[in-house]
Amino acid sequence: MSIQARFFLQRPGFALDVDLVLPGTGVSALFGPSGCGKTTLLRCLAGLTRATQGDLLVHDQVWQNATQFLPVHQRPLGYVFQDANLFPHLSVRANLLYGQQRVAPGLRRVPWDKTLALLGIAPLLERMPQSLSGGERQRVAIARALLSSPRLLLMDEPLAALDQARKAELLPFLERLREDLEIPVVYVSHAPDEVARLADHIVFMEAGHSVAAGPLAQTLARLDLPIALGEDAGVVLHAVVAQRDTAWHLARVDFQGGSLWVRDAGHAVGERVRVRILARDVSIATQEVRGSSVQNCLPAHVEEFAPESHPALSLVRLNLGGTPLLARLTRRSVATLELSHGKPVWALVKAAALLG
């Protein structure tokens, strides 16, 4: 069960040339700057844009090859457009029914009530799309796509058209989607924070090419890529909430190779969470630091270095008992601390964000 995609498409001033294998479960993020071809790739996956040359195999079903091109309406997919794209002449209910009614009753695997509850849109059913807020429209669009019982859900920056408050409103729904559904999702985004929260797998795109792909935590820790991320370079750890300190509003999260104290975000003990640690929030000491305001001081080993975009800076990968961590240091610090491969150090984590 996987998605194998190979596309070639030439346009004036742009060429898409990708060869990818995406996992058949979880959320795969297509990540990259505007104009790198993420949306074009997504449209090729859907068949909305026809690649000059393409091979697309979804769960062992041929969607496109040299001789065949399955028309969009025959592909069991769901597509969430950047601007929702609801039918303006139909009520929310009729929009939701549009896709569901076009799937044979025996093939409808996504239950109506559950989907409405998941996206919190039951109260909106009789409204017309024009009367909905941007966030509501996007939730209806997601529900409409889900109710057509897709085998693959394609989402084109569903949050991009929304303001910060609406984004914050929609993100928890997307997280629930990831946990509750067994439909693989391909999610286009240029926002690192969305990817850190939602993705299980990431594809870095640049100028029409895929430059790296792999599981999120490992791929983010690669030193050859975070340069592209600039200020957003950092890792995501998969952790479990182990303890809550209600007096100080802190929570301890355990991960393979250590534990961290982070701001309590209301998660119950035992809950699985993601922790995002940016490289600029990690410093290195050669001795255990005492008497510092930095609470998280973890033993680690130096693994690898890479130059940063600014000549004064260097990106260092540390290993915390199997879990990678990135630190951004000045090159002078690297020299004065005599950091080298395998050297035991202490990682000082100044800030870590708990994501859903």
């Binding site: 309406h73 597509y79 303006p88």
Partner: protein, 221 residues
């Protein structure tokens, strides 16, 4: 039935039949003009727009020649057993359809173009075949365009003169339409009768345009 009443009934029949045929021909034509990327597109668009600028007498004249016993279309209609169309209701109908074509195609074309790709792409990702998407999404969204097209096509046919005169002659009950009846009254100096018909047509046209304005206002910009 008086000649005037005959003319009114005939005009209504002609306008209704023309409008129906125009919508049937105009819809696929407008769809193609709005969405195709063929190099033929500008040529077809120009041909469709021709009746807007051509004097009706020119159009009528060529139709008369083409549909006549020696014209290619005339030979075709004879071969098909339809006989000759000039000076019959059928001939006037053909002339009306061609004459009013741009008035139906252009509002439809605009409506289809205004749709954009979005709704049709959304329909395709929700398993609607192109035909299904056309009927369930494109037609309802283009409804204001259809209303404008039908009203303009009907009204324009009601007011025609030159084409019908050329191809239909002026035969009461068969090809004598309203504008010709008015012309006959004026020729015969029966101004009161001409007034009655002319004023009726004026009010009718005004009401049609009023209806279109309200339609535009209701659907908003």
């Amino acid at each position: 039935m008086s000649a005037d009443l005959l003319a009114i009934v005939l005009t209504a029949k002609l306008a209704a039949a023309s409008t129906l045929i125009l919508l049937l021909i105009g819809t696929p034509l407008a769809w193609w003009l709005a969405r195709a990327r063929s190099p033929l597109r500008p040529i077809v668009a120009a041909v469709v727009a021709l009746p807007l600028v051509l004097p009706p007498a020119v159009l009528g004249f060529y139709l008369l020649v083409m549909l006549g016993p020696r014209g290619p279309l005339g030979q075709l209609t004879q071969a098909l057993g339809l006989g000759l169309l000039p000076f019959t209701f059928g001939g006037v109908l053909v002339g009306s359809v061609i004459y009013s074509l741009p008035f139906v195609v252009q509002p439809l074309q605009q409506a289809f173009r205004a749709l954009g790709d979005g709704p049709l792409e959304a329909a395709a990702t929700l398993r609607a075949s192109p035909w299904d998407a056309f009927f369930s999404v494109a037609l309802p969204l283009a409804r204001p365009g259809f209303i404008s097209a039908a009203v303009l096509g009907f009204a324009h046919t009601v007011g025609e003169f030159g084409v019908v005169l050329m191809i239909g002659g002026n035969i009461p009950g068969r090809t004598q339409v309203l504008s010709m009846a008015i012309y006959n009254h004026v020729e015969a100096l029966e101004y009161a009768n001409a007034h009655a018909l002319a004023a009726g047509l004026l009010v009718f046209s005004f009401l049609i345009l009023l209806l279109l304005q309200r339609q535009g206002w209701k659907d908003g910009p």
